[in-house]
């Protein structure tokens, strides 16, 4: 086998130009497929990143009524939704892929938060437990975070995100200042921000709603002080930190199931749901998939044409080397050996073409990515598959010429001029 490969490479090298031109069809086909696949993969990663945010592996489980989060401001406290116990939080934490779990209550912060005469319109106010900042990957930008004694002593302290700090204080130092929340004084102890900056790309109105609540500013108080502002028994939400973005859907669903098993409501549409951004990303990716498949099919046609080119050249090669085949058969080469030699040659030719095609494809994807500004991601399985597939093309289209060679009559072959 190795000897056959060596001979094939030698043969290809002795006809450099011809070999290259024969490979060109395969190179173009494979390069096109690799470039398309890399670009698609890049676009998909980008969609995921745009929607979810890189490195932010959190999933929210909120209480829904129908298709929208339950609006306590308009509907009041629902019956049959108990406060989530620490035991239940532990249950969430015990789920597979879950690295952190936190509970919080939240409301729209419309006209309830003021600093002097400046109000926070829009945005949300959150009553968060001790695990919240960690779970959601927040870091303290200024001041300090909540301490155990803040929770135990029901201290009226608040944290702001950068957006609400900017809106309320407009450049003034916020730490130590007193805010008015629901007519109660709260002292600002810190400003927090997400550890990884995430700039969502908003293309649709739905996406706008997804992010608007974050972008209008948020304000956090210890959940123990929440009843000072609102009520103790409001439906809570949970946020889970996961080991990977890819597990959002599964873990979110399981968590929602656990929470739903604790509620007892009349309205069937009222239940906990995980906001499934991953699924949303996949839905968007699916939209482009049929176009992508079409492109891959077109590139596949180029491979077919390349394969026919290989067959043609192999037939020429068999004719040229009729005497050689005759000689080999005369001195006792088995049919299978001649077949193997020509098949190997065809497979080596197309595999090399495939390999070059993969490299050209990656370069092409890189160029497309630079020019159009889209992401590209090289798919290693696709590259391996491309080379294996080109080898398969060589074997497939080399079969006829090889079979012809193996069945040559040695005497006639030797007489061939």
């Amino acid at each position: 086998m190795l000897e056959n490969i060596r001979l094939s490479l030698q043969g290809l090298w002795s006809h450099k130009m011809r070999s290259f031109l024969t490979m060109l069809g395969i190179i173009i086909g494979i390069a096109a497929i690799i470039a398309i696949v890399s670009t698609i993969k890049g676009t998909n990663e980008q969609i995921k990143e745009n929607l979810i945010g890189a490195g932010d592996n959190t999933v929210n489980i909120q209480f829904y009524q129908g298709d929208y989060p339950y609006e306590i401001d308009y509907n009041g406290i629902p019956d049959g939704v108990p406060v989530i116990s620490e035991e239940t939080r532990q249950q969430l934490l015990d789920l597979k892929h879950v690295e952190g779990a936190s509970l919080y209550t939240s409301r729209e912060a419309y006209n309830v938060v003021y600093y002097k005469n400046t109000g926070l319109s829009g945005g949300r106010i959150y009553g968060v437990d001790r695990n919240y900042l960690d779970t959601c990957n927040y870091i303290i930008k200024k001041g300090r975070g909540f301490t155990e004694s803040d929770y135990k002593k029901f201290r009226k302290v608040a944290l702001l995100d950068e957006s609400s700090a900017e809106t309320l204080f407009q450049g003034e130092e916020p730490i130590g200042k007193t805010l008015e929340i629901q007519r109660e004084p709260f002292i600002v102890i810190g400003v927090i921000a997400k550890s990884s900056q995430f700039e969502p790309v908003i293309n649709t109105i739905e996406e706008y709603y997804d992010y608007s609540q974050n972008n209008n500013g948020a304000l956090y108080v210890p959940d123990t002080t929440w009843p000072i502002l609102y009520s103790y028994d409001e439906p809570q939400s949970a946020v889970l930190k996961l080991d990977s973005v890819d597990n959002m859907t599964v873990a979110g669903r399981s968590a929602a199931e656990i929470l739903n098993s604790k509620i007892n409501v009349q309205d069937d549409t009222m239940k906990y749901k995980a906001d499934d951004l991953l699924k949303k990303a996949e839905d968007i990716q699916k939209l482009g998939q049929s176009t992508n498949m079409m492109l891959i099919w077109i590139a596949g046609i180029s491979l077919l044409v390349g394969g026919i080119g290989v067959m043609n050249i192999m037939l020429v090669s068999v004719t040229e080397r009729t005497q050689e085949i005759g000689l080999k058969k005369a001195i006792g080469a088995r049919k299978g050996k001649v077949l193997g030699q020509f098949l190997t040659e065809a497979a080596v030719l197309t595999s090399l073409g495939g390999l070059v095609g993969v490299i050209v494809g990656i370069v092409l994807a890189e160029v497309i990515s630079r020019v159009t500004g889209t992401l590209m991601a090289i798919s290693v399985p696709a590259a391996v598959l491309a080379v294996v597939f080109s080898m398969f093309i060589g074997i497939l289209f080399g079969l006829l010429p090889s079979y012809k060679a193996a069945n040559l009559n040695p005497i006639e072959a030797l007489r061939h001029e």
Binding site: K328, A330, I331, R334, I411
Partner: protein, 231 residues
């Protein structure tokens, strides 16, 4: 004496044309046998039948006690590889391989080939091993081809007009070397030619005409290759 190769009532028809018309013969070990005849006499076809390259229309060919006309294609290929060598009129060297690679082209890992250095020395090609066929003269190419036929340690060499493309000097050399290989390695040589001078160097001369053997004689006093008178 046990024949190394024997043919029993072989015929060969190509359509209506009868090329071999019932030949029975036996070839003995370590002999140099010439099949003599003008072109069209059927000597090459006979050689091809005896070497297993062409199947006879009727009759059988035996190598030692193996009936080679009854072998399957694969068995026949294996038999050819392990037992016989072939020298062609136009050398049939592979142009992309060096002389050494051409010599070794038929050797498989299961064989115990002859001592390469000794063989190439006898054939006087030991200085040409890295050359490609295009860089060699006709005589040199034919000596490489002979080395390829013999290297496997085969006992039977078929030569089909092996000097047909060579001049006098090179022809004499090739015939002389074949004789010396017969004596050194104990190979049996079956040589077709239309050249009577070469026949005079053989142990046995079989003359063919119109697909039949018209005479089959032992040569009691073979001449040496150098004494051949070329015309």
């Amino acid at each position: 004496m046990i024949p190394i190769l024997s043919a029993e009532k072989i015929t060969k028809d190509y359509g209506k044309e009868k090329v071999i018309k019932g030949i029975t013969l036996a070839i003995y070990q370590e002999t140099f046998t010439v099949i003599l005849g003008p072109s069209g006499s059927g000597k090459s076809t006979l050689l091809n039948i005896l070497s297993g390259m062409v199947k006879p229309t009727t009759g059988t060919v035996k190598y030692e006690d193996k009936i080679i006309t009854a072998l399957s294609q694969t068995e026949l290929a294996d038999w050819k590889r392990n037992n016989i060598g072939y020298v062609f009129q136009n050398y049939m060297l592979l142009s992309n391989l060096t002389a050494e690679e051409n010599i070794k082209v038929g050797i498989s890992s299961k064989m115990t080939p002859l001592a390469f250095d000794r063989l190439t020395h006898i054939l006087e090609i030991d200085g040409l091993l890295d050359k490609f066929p295009a860089q060699l003269s006709g005589g040199q190419q034919q000596r490489v081809a002979i080395a390829r036929a013999v290297i496997k340690g085969t006992h039977l060499i078929f030569c089909d007009e092996a000097t047909g493309a060579l001049d006098e000097e090179n022809s004499k050399k090739v015939v002389e070397l074949l004789h010396s290989l017969k004596n050194t390695f104990g190979v049996t040589i079956l040589f077709t030619t239309h050249n009577e001078q070469i026949a005079h160097t053989a142990n046995r001369i079989i003359t063919m005409k119109d697909g039949m053997i018209i005479s089959d004689e032992e040569n009691e006093s073979p001449i040496s290759a150098n004494d051949m008178i070329w015309r």
